[in-house]
Amino acid sequence: MALPIYASPLERAWYYSFRVLCGLIFLFLIAPILIVIPLSFNAEPYFTFTEKMLSLDPTGYSLRWYDLLLTHPNVPTDVPRDAAWWATVWQDAAWVNAAKNSVIVGFFATITATFLGTLAALGLSRPEMPYRRAIMAVLISPMIVPLIIITLGLFFFYSSIGINKWGVPYLGVIMAHATLGIPFVIITVTATLSGFDHSLTRASASLGASPTTTFFKVTMPLILPGMISGALFAFVTSFDEVVVVLFVGANDEQTIPRQMWNGIREAISPAILSVATILVVFSITLLATVELLRRRSERLRGISPH
């Protein structure tokens, strides 16, 4: 999009002001996310940059808000931090437990969504699939229907079947999160399959492979990038989800988003910012993974980025 040589002065002015405008919009997109990182190291309980921070004085920065994440009434503060201390933290600290719960819920929800979603995507991408469009619309709709309506429905449904009394912890939340993650798996896996060369499976069958062998040796390695990025989407959806947990989760089912929600509603302290920072770093890692997978998938399928 270089500036053509015949551009008039007005167009030249517009060309540069357009770039500046776009730069400002990118700033709007990215600045709020990055600003929480330095603020989480604030030594004072404020949500703005103190003068010490601006003058890069090391005493203006501290890790106290990260330290706060490890605290709990049961965790002694004045003892040396040895293995026993860390064991107590691992057992009792509220944020650590919330993190563990989030990972457990996210893991099972992701497995369910990926397994069922991939299977369905395989069926949906077959040309002979009946009612393809209608079924696809139903399967994608959890992404479109507002979360509060799904949650309301689950709230009625779970209280009518009494799922909390079944004795399987997190079951309701896991099933709900899997439902929310399924559209992402379907979309990513169908996208991978749309470029899939079906003569490969026929070749494999003609060489004597059973459908199962064909799937695991031929199809799956090719659609794996789509599966993994679908799974990551599903995991992030679950990891970030708060409405369902708030309404249908039992009181002791605390996840990171729920803990954050409580923290923000009660008294927002910079400890929230330290959690936010950890989550931002986490999402950067995920984004990088998805990006690498996408490139790998394009390379494998012979679509090179131009």
Partner: protein
């Protein structure tokens, strides 16, 4: 195929002697079944965890047995006597018997709650009568009205008659600020109690405004991303995708931190001398806070569809227009813009649909004036405990979204949805 078979006396057969047509039909139906069986487990799962809860919402919106289940005898009396019958001693006897039973089962408050939705202030009437009913002596018409004269009110009897049916459309009336008058006709609720229509209007207006803002600032970015060479574009794309991947709560928190009175934006403005120390802007806990935060959160959903439409547009079209004498504005307006309409439609509908149902961000940064319909649904579930009204509101919201979804499917095609 049929012609071939008719002309040829020898029917085409497969190697095992079956007619080819039949064998083909059988193979195709087998393949159809195989494809369907792959989808079946997920379909069953979605049916349990998604479709049936939605059906329950629909059901709950027209079904509320709180009164009829807990006050069976008086409900039966209403069924036997047509509308307009004055309550006689038999009716009062049935009512007191129900109150005694419900008082003993501690469900009288539940029945009272149902009446209370329609006629505020009656809950205490029921709880009090539930405590005292067993001490009452016949004739009950006298003793009950002596306990509280409101028991003789024709309005109360009218309401009890209506709520004695478990199936009712009243919650939909309430959800659009209508009510039944004592005579049974439908009328608007008093001016100061009209909440829901305004809230629906606010939700849709705010979503439209957010969609417009997203389009306004998303279009230039998508244009730039589509026009730049790939290696720069994919770097800049990270700036769009990172917010997309970052936790919603993190982004909302970030805006709370930025926009609050002592926050970064205000401090920056004070430092730059644009506003005075005592004039810090109120940008949070109001409509503006909701709008800024939601525009930021939903912007990637606008940029990504726009980008995927703009990317394949050949730059030579605009160049051709320029070479034919069009100014750059005309070339953009007449040649480029029409080609991006599908992207505008897709992104706009997606952002609109998502923002209509938003809950978390308005709840955290919306304050009182920035609450949307979802927040009220949540309120009726958690606080006022009026599940049926919550379900009716949710159903109206769902219907409007399905309409948009259907439109999206017609215009864009739901299977063309892409992520990243």
């Amino acid at each position: 195929m049929a012609d071939l078979a008719a002309n040829d006396p020898v029917l085409l057969t497969t190697s095992d002697g079956r007619p080819l047509q039949e064998a083909l039909a059988q193979a195709q139906s087998k393949a159809k079944w195989r494809a369907f069986m792959l989808v079946a487990p997920l379909l069953a799962f979605i049916l349990i965890t998604f479709v049936s809860p939605i059906v329950q919402v629909l059901h709950q919106s027209v079904y509320n047995p709180k009164f009829s289940e807990n006050m069976p005898q008086i409900s039966a009396w209403f069924d036997q006597n047509p509308n307009g019958t004055e309550p006689d001693e038999a009716a009062y006897t049935a009512l007191v018997a129900d109150l005694v039973a419900a008082g003993a089962a501690k469900t009288v408050a539940v029945a009272g709650e149902r009446v209370n939705y329609e006629m505020p202030g009656t809950r205490s009437l029921f709880t009090k009568a539930g405590r005292e009913a067993k001490k009452l002596q016949p004739p009950f018409m006298e003793s009950l009205t002596k306990l509280d004269e409101n028991w003789a009110s024709p309005e109360l009897w009218g309401v009890m008659r209506r709520v004695s049916h478990a199936y009712t459309g009243d919650f939909y009336l309430a959800a659009v600020d209508l009510e039944r008058s004592p005579t049974g006709s439908i009328q608007q609720v008093p001016e100061n109690e009209r909440v829901y229509v305004n809230l629906f209007v606010r939700t849709f207006a705010l979503s439209a405004a957010i969609t417009f803002m997203c389009l306004l600032i998303g279009y230039p970015v998508a244009f730039l991303l589509a026009a730049l060479p790939m290696r720069y574009a994919s770097l800049l794309m990270i700036m769009v995708l990172l917010p997309f991947w970052t936790s919603l709560l993190v982004r909302t928190t970030a805006w709370m931190v930025l926009l609050q009175g002592q926050g970064v934006v205000n401090s920056l403005l004070v430092w730059a001398g644009i506003i005075a120390e005592d004039q810090r802007l109120v940008m949070i806990n109001n409509l503006m806070g909701t709008m800024i935060a939601m525009t930021h959160i939903l912007l990637p959903f606008m940029i990504l569809p726009l980008y995927s439409v703009m990317k394949p547009i050949p730059p030579s079209y605009v160049r051709a227009a320029r070479s034919l004498g069009a100014t750059s504005w005309t070339a953009f307006r007449r040649v480029y813009l029409p080609q991006t309409i599908p992207g505008i439609g897709a992104g706009g509908l997606l952002v609109f649909i998502l923002s209509v149902g938003y809950y978390i961000t308005p709840a955290l940064v919306g304050g009182a004036s920035g609450q949307l319909i979802s927040n009220l649904i949540a309120f009726h579930v958690n606080k006022s405990n009026n599940w049926s009204l919550a379900a009716a509101l949710a159903t109206i919201l769902l219907a409007s979204i399905l309409l948009l979804y259907w439109l999206y499917d017609k215009l864009v095609g739901i299977d063309k949805l892409k992520l990243g």
